[in-house]
Symmetry: C2
Subunit: 355 residues, 2 copies
């Protein structure tokens, strides 16, 4: 604490000053270049000097200033994250992950909502990157599937990482999750509880995730030797309302499902409502499963069995990929990454009701 709050000179503590590389050099009695070497973990520093310098760094609590670094080196140590996703919780998780990874690597994360009013998304992105002097950019969905944006990014010749791309997984550095495998795992979870009539609510038409999750559902049925029954699927739109409607539809079927797997949490919430309305107790009479582990999933009543997407970790991986690339570890930086999902079993799913 003392070093942080050290008075500058004279009696009054005027303003808190961070220590500079020169302060450290003086204290350790070496040149600033040597300090720089230690900080940046460059080779060619004797162990003795290293230790001495490190001690000085610790004592003064020295951290290099990003601004000063960026004026000299060609690098800005700035990483961009564009926001153009209507889901604030999702965006926020991305932000947390990216910011953590950036900070750990001496980078600063610059968060930019995409200005749709001005020009095309592609032009806006170019502006953001060039004006902001960003070394690289993290591009979440749906932007990461916009062909114009992709071609603009490629032209810019700066590394960019795409989160959960739905198409062209060879463009840029891609971080994704196994949506299909996750949906299969959830289906298997329901099958393991004895369910054979499992309803499935699809997401918005035409999105890549909608397709992947539907495939996973089919995989899960097939693996258990259960025939796919189109009657048990319903076209939703990722909204609570569509969940209510699909839930009412599925529950009004003659041979109604004993479990409903909604391909996101909002629709699962809708199913919960629909179930309550017709007097069904969850999970006693009906099992309900979601997908996403949105903030409300655990707050729902009953708490929702769902799939957790490692959103923050995906953003962190994206940031790290870009940073690695900048450091010259190309092989490390450019291989696409797929992270594991997590099946979170809460109280909304249970054994199939006894007849």
């Amino acid at each position: 604490m003392a070093s942080v709050l050290q008075p500058q000179r004279g009696l009054r503590m005027r303003t808190v000053r961070r220590s500079t590389i020169t302060d450290v050099a003086k204290l350790a009695e070496v040149s600033i270049k040597t300090v720089s070497r230690v900080v940046r973990r460059e080779p060619n520093v004797s162990e003795r000097t290293r230790v001495a310098v490190q001690a000085a760094i610790d004592e003064l609590n020295y951290r290099p200033t990003i601004s000063a670094r960026s004026t000299t080196s060609a690098r800005s140590f700035l990483l961009g994250l564009v926001f153009d996703n209507p889901n604030p919780s999702y965006s926020f998780e991305l932000l947390r992950g990216a910011q953590r990874a950036a900070k750990e690597n001496g980078y600063q994360l610059v968060f930019e909502p995409l200005d749709r009013s001005r020009a095309t998304p592609a032009e806006s992105m170019t502006q953001l990157i060039v004006q902001g002097n960003l070394e690289g950019m993290i591009v979440p969905p749906p932007l990461c599937d916009d062909p114009d944006v992709l071609s603009a990014m490629s032209k810019l010749n700066r590394p960019f990482a795409r989160i959960a791309p739905g198409r062209e997984p060879s463009l840029g550095f891609c971080v994704s999750m196994d949506d299909r495998g996750a949906a299969e795992a959830m289906t298997r979870h329901l099958v393991d509880h004895g369910h054979t009539r499992i309803g499935f609510i699809m997401g918005r038409e035409g999105t890549a995730t909608t397709q992947a999750r539907l495939h996973g559902y089919k995989d899960g049925l097939q693996g258990a030797g259960i025939a796919f029954d189109e009657e048990l699927t319903c076209q939703g739109a990722f909204t609570i309302r569509s969940g209510v409607e699909c839930g009412e539809h599925l529950l009004s079927l003659d041979d109604r499902p004993t479990a409903i797997f909604a391909s996101n949490d909002d629709m699962a919430a809708g199913v919960l409502m629909a179930a309550h309305r017709v007097g069904l107790e969850v999970p006693r009479d009906l099992s309900v499963a979601g997908f996403d582990d949105a903030e409300t999933a655990s707050a729902m009543w009953p708490p929702l069995t769902t799939i957790r997407q490692p959103v923050a970790d995906m953003a962190a991986a994206a940031a790290e990929g870009i940073i690695d690339h900048q450091r010259g570890n190309r092989e490390n930086g450019l291989d696409n990454v797929q992270l594991d999902y997590e099946l979170i079993v809460r109280e909304s799913t249970g054994p199939v009701p006894e007849v």
Copy 2:
């Protein structure tokens, strides 16, 4: 576009370069100092020169680099926003507002989740500010009501803005909303629809907002000449689950309320569920109102009548307050600000049921 993507030299477009103050000076045939004067709107520049320089700036699409600025001036043009609120949507809205205001004023927003593992919140904040070289800090709830944090911030001698403080509204620069007035307005809205038995679900015990909203509810009743009935209030905890429980309780009353005002949206969602379970149609049989306008409020079914807090605007006002203060407009920067709420009438409230 041409200026943004201009090739550097030779045939191949190597890397996109932003233009510097020197580029502008050369083009306008003045010294860099003059350019600086124009950019920073300093006096003592002839109109002719100003126009010429501005033309060069526009042509080259020149924007000063924050990093370079901060190395020279004492200012870093960095504004901090700590995150320590469990609600991602709320935090995200704050972020949007603060980032917008920062950008408009040539500042950059630095977003920092509070590291609770390391030390006390107060120490962490000090670290963030000093190490990050932040000119000021935006402090949202609940952090803005932590006495240690407040005293640490005061000692640091840097401007800080508190969002929706619950106590000590004289410490720092405070931006708030009229919680009490908003709750009163919502109560009046229900009264205007003929409701006289209006249930009220309180938030978590001991929080300032909980108190303020309860007061507003009472004000609303009193204004309409309706006696406050303790039986119609219920202690919630801002969670969906507590909403379900309070909803069930209130609806099981002998003379049950015809409207329920929950002091946040999550609890209102719980009330909706409870209502569905006992077969009550909303708003035909029961009106339900919330508070916050969370992202889910409009997605609920039926869409929820609620109070919109101008969260983003509050953060923007906070950022602007700090920036104004840094610019020396003390009177402007230090007056506390109270923003207007907005009553959003959707479909969950309606006239009192005919008996």
